[in-house]
Amino acid sequence: MQFTILCYETPADFARRDNPAEAGAYWAGWSAYGATLAQAGVFVSGAGLLPPATAVTVRTRPAGRTVQDGPFAEVKEHLGGFFVIEVPDFETALDWAAKAPSSASASTEVRPVLAMPG
């Protein structure tokens, strides 16, 4: 089964990316995590995301299109990246999610990927 591991981060986490004193350890943590998933043969795909300040939200309504700067929701933790993994069951996916650096500093969400009909 495929699961998506959604890695949420705090503003402090995002700030670590650009702080010369912390960026090395920050990226090393994610790099090690990605490598571990790959070595275990569970990695399917993934991407990191630029901080939420760079987000743009689009809505199309009968009155026209709105393009709003900023993320969709005002929340304390924002999606910082995700991994899609292939594992036998939810428990295993949860174990992998727990190892993500975001689980220690913010939160990590596990979602089954839906099979597309047809």
Partner: protein, 139 residues
């Protein structure tokens, strides 16, 4: 293996040449963006609808996906169960939009990404958040 016809080979060569020129011309011409698809619970419920409404829901996404694939911009994506699996059955706040899936596309710039986002079915019923992707470490 089927051998390509001569005119196809020439087409391929022209394409490869154009690609090589594009790659050699300096700054990256394409950027990856992640489209985070937020939908209302009523829309998400259509996924499990075995009737016409469910067919229409999936057909709209299939059409968008085909168009994106034909344009050569599709890099990935997945529809997800709209609540964390550990919370399946938990009530979703009425009216709240929920992250239901994502697409990864590669286009020239943010404005082009916004054009594609606006064409997603969720842009009409919910909201599509566009985030620049970075090369994820360890991949």
């Amino acid at each position: 293996m089927v051998r390509p016809r001569r005119d196809e080979v020439i087409d391929m060569k022209a394409s490869l040449l154009a690609l090589a020129l594009a790659l050699a011309s300096g700054p990256a011409l394409a950027e990856q963006f992640v489209l985070l698809v937020h939908e209302a619970p009523e829309q998400l419920a259509l996924r499990a609808d075995s009737g016409a409404a469910g067919e229409v829901y999936w057909a709209k996404y299939a059409d968008w996906g085909k168009e994106a694939a034909a344009a050569g911009i599709m890099r990935g994506g997945a529809p997800m169960v709209p609540v964390p699996a550990g919370l399946v059955g938990a009530a979703v706040e009425p009216g709240a939009l929920v992250l239901g899936g994502f697409f990864v596309i590669e286009v020239a710039d943010a404005a082009t990404a916004a054009e594609w986002a606006a064409k997603l079915p969720a842009a009409e019923t919910g909201a599509v958040e566009i985030r620049s992707a970075i090369e994820a470490p360890g991949m």
